[in-house]
């Protein structure tokens, strides 16, 4: 039906399961807002939506229909075969609901044209209610209407008022709008001033969400499990309570000694981090573009280190899909590419492993061996049962490359070449160091020379070379030079201060990025 609805139909949801009600309320508060507006009492309604699969709903509707004969949309699995209702089959869709609304609206308009004599007081009706309503309903005091913007599932709602008495003094329809008042607990004294308005924020944003969209989509709203959902235990769980913000909270019972111990721990942690970053990125401060490859101490050849064999083993494992063993007496490492794991007898976070990586290997000291299928099966079983020596493959490669380079550049690097990062490293699982994420972000937006990116970021070049070594080891750079060229003129957009403020909030008391 192509008729447009001039004004949203005032609808009362009756005998609807909590689940279905939540969906309908959201629909009416958003996409369906042009077709329907929710009211809190049957008396205020021009029409009803009811669910015939809900126990007792059909009987209630029949009672109501006998009194008021208001139009009704019936949701059900099977056709109710009732000419007085508009049937919307389950699973319902937004489009089906809108179509049914148009049908009802059209009928009501026709009734107005040919049935003007009926006058029923309506609380705010621009559209006269054309259905005969018993006199008793006229005396019902106006009650707060649940506006569409107040139907959000994530905001507190006032408890519905007592039901109006219609005719016999009994509401023919059970009230099924559930109170969704979240329990908002008193905030802890340690909270900031702006923490005190959670409920307001929830309400404001929810309102915005539910009123902004006019998008027409055709969702399938499955409300087919009404009987099961009639169980009160199946009602949506709505919670809203404040959560203590951990940062800045200092328990009052903490003694001075404890505070001092805590301070010492933080200092020790910071020192450890500095030492680790020195192993990963080196300590050179004064390297420039001009001096980058002039001093031999700034360059290295990965083939002369364990890293060279490790990367070769990685490629072999990827190609053969077999477990690859690296023998580096007295150690044996296993690369399981498909599982994304490495079996290492040494902790890659240890000083021993740092030393192993930074020490040049002697010819014949390191060997690669592709395991046979039975051997692979055995080692996979061993690995799966011994998590203590198993490490994430990418993380292991990243750390190994950084420990080998210590901020030096590979001799294969052409400092005049442009590099573009294709993929970000897996920052939640690899070892981090200062500026690492910012380097990735910048390097993915457009290509840079190694020295140029350091200059633009105004940071020591060792962090860039460290990143470069890790990213090369994991094959994270773009190899298609046409894409590199294509992106060379891109200028990153500067965003508003909100990004910076949120970034600052996230990185507060966290490791530098």
């Amino acid at each position: 039906m192509g008729t447009q609805i001039k004004q949203p139909l005032k609808v009362y949801l009756s005998d609807i399961s909590p689940h279905s009600q939540a969906i309908l309320e959201f629909f009416i508060g958003s996409t369906g807002g042009k077709s329907f507006t929710l009211v809190s009492t049957p008396a205020d309604a021009e029409m009803y939506i009811t669910d015939f699969d809900f126990p007792g709903s059909k009987e209630h509707w029949e009672t109501e229909h006998a009194i008021s004969a208001k139009p009704c949309i019936v949701l059900s699995m099977e056709d109710p075969n009732n000419q007085h209702v508009e049937w919307v089959a389950k699973p319902i869709t937004a489009q089906a609901l809108i179509t049914a609304a148009k049908t009802i609206s059209s009928r009501m308009d026709e009734n107005i044209a040919g049935h003007v004599s009926v006058s029923t007081p309506s609380t705010s009706a621009a559209r006269p209610n054309t259905i005969k309503v018993p006199e008793t309903t006229k005396a019902v005091p106006a009650e707060p209407t649940i506006a569409t913007t107040n139907t959000s599932l994530d905001q507190p709602q006032v408890a519905p008022p007592p039901l109006p008495k219609i005719a016999s003094g009994q509401s023919p329809f059970r009230k099924t709008i559930h109170t969704k008042t979240p329990a908002i607990h008193t905030r802890a004294p340690a909270f900031h001033e702006d923490d005190g308005d959670t409920s307001v924020v929830v309400k404001a944003e929810a309102t915005q969400v539910l009123t902004t969209s006019e998008a027409q989509t055709t969702p399938a709203l499955d409300v087919s499990n009404s009987n099961q959902e009639a169980n009160p235990k199946a009602q949506p769980k709505i919670q809203s309570k404040t959560k203590p913000v951990a940062t800045d909270d200092i328990p009052s019972e903490q003694t001075e000694a404890e505070l001092e111990a805590s301070k010492q721990t933080r200092i020790a942690q910071a020192e450890n981090a500095q030492n680790r970053w020195a192993l990963l990125c080196g300590i050179e401060e004064n390297v420039t573009h001009a001096t980058l490859k002039q001093n031999e101490s700034f360059t290295y050849n990965s083939e002369n280190y364990f890293q060279g064999t490790l990367i070769a083993g990685l490629r072999l494992a990827k190609q053969t899909k077999q477990v690859v063993q690296i023998k580096y007496e007295p150690y044996q490492f296993y690369i399981c590419y498909d599982e994304g794991l490495v079996f290492s007898p040494i902790d890659p976070g240890s000083d021993d492993y740092a030393k192993l990586c930074y020490t040049k290997v002697k010819p014949g000291q390191v060997n690669l061996h592709i395991l046979t299928s039975p051997e692979s099966t055995d080692i996979r079983e061993k690995i799966s049962s011994d998590a203590n020596f198993t490490y994430d493959l990418e993380s292991f490669i990243w750390t190994s490359c950084l420990l080998t380079s210590r901020g030096r550049v590979p001799s294969s690097l052409d400092c005049e070449d442009l590099y573009l990062l294709k993929y970000w490293p897996n920052y939640t699982r690899i070892e981090n160091f200062p500026f690492a994420m910012k380097i990735a972000a910048r390097w993915q937006k457009r290509p840079y020379k190694v020295a140029d990116i350091a200059k633009e970021m105004d940071i020591p070049i060792r962090y860039i070379t460290a990143f470069y070594n890790g990213a090369i080891g994991l094959s994270l750079f773009e190899t298609d030079m046409s894409i590199v060229q294509q992106k060379s003129n891109i200028k990153p957009k500067k965003k508003n201060g909100l990004i910076a403020r949120l970034f600052g909030r996230l990185t507060k008391s966290e490791s530098p990025s």
């Binding site: 689940h19 939540a22 969906i23 958003s30 996409t31 699973p91 937004a94 599932l153 994530d154 979240p182 900031h192 702006d194 923490d195 308005d197 924020v201 944003e205 915005q208 902004t212 969209s213 989509t217 969702p219 709203l221 499955d222 087919s224 099961q228 959902e229 235990k233 949506p236 769980k237 709505i238 919670q239 309570k241 404040t242 959560k243 913000v245 599982e339 994304g340 493959l393 990418e394 294709k422 993929y423 970000w424 897996n426 939640t428 699982r429 994420m437 910012k438 972000a441 937006k445 990153p492 957009k493 500067k494 965003k495 990004i499 910076a500 403020r501 949120l502 970034f503 600052g504 909030r505």
Partner: protein
């Protein structure tokens, strides 16, 4: 001083950890609309989100960033275009134990394609402790195949640190030169 309320959207299939992730990073207990799962959903989790999840990150001076989680079930996709209005970025969470994570990635990136083009996305792979394969390198290739660029990290949705890094990736993608 006017305060524009901006939001970050968390999306992904049922059980990918959207509710948990928001809870991990939110400064308030999240407002959740979980419902006992019915149909196929209950095979993956007991409760599921039927409308949306809501959390907040407070920035001070009454400024806040709102976190919205979409319902995972595809039949609620009519809500997605509504939820994304005013969003600054999308967090797509993918469950590594699902039957076809590539299909999930394809479905959600296509569903939010216009939003992603206008803004930015970051992808978090969850449940990798339960199942390592497909590896993150596979996800990178899939995303490239689908024509998108975004940071992809393995995350434990219960870990504030992981979700914080995920959001930092999102923000740095929006503005690589961001300074605090």
């Amino acid at each position: 001083m006017s305060h524009i309320n901006r939001k970050i959207i968390f999306t992904g299939p049922v059980g990918s950890g959207k509710t948990t992730a928001i809870n991990s990073i939110s400064d308030i207990e999240i407002v959740s609309t979980n419902q006992n799962a019915s149909d196929m959903t209950k095979l993956r989790k007991k409760d599921t989100t039927v409308a949306m999840d809501y959390g907040v990150i407070k920035l001070g001076n009454d400024e806040k960033v709102h976190l919205y989680g979409t319902p995972g079930q595809e039949r609620f996709d009519f809500m997605w275009s509504i939820l994304t209005k005013g969003g600054i970025g999308l967090v797509l969470l993918l469950d590594n134990t699902r039957k076809d994570p590539f299909h999930d990635m394809k479905f959600y990136t296509q569903s939010f394609k216009d939003f992603i083009k206008e803004n930015q996305m970051v992808v978090g792979i969850t449940q990798t402790d339960k199942q390592k394969s497909p590896a993150i390198s596979q996800y990178r290739e899939w995303l490239t195949e689908l024509g998108f660029e975004a940071p992809i990290f393995e995350v434990d949705a219960r870990s504030r640190d992981d979700i914080s890094v995920l959001l930092q990736g999102l923000l740095l993608s929006l503005d690589p030169g961001v300074t605090v």
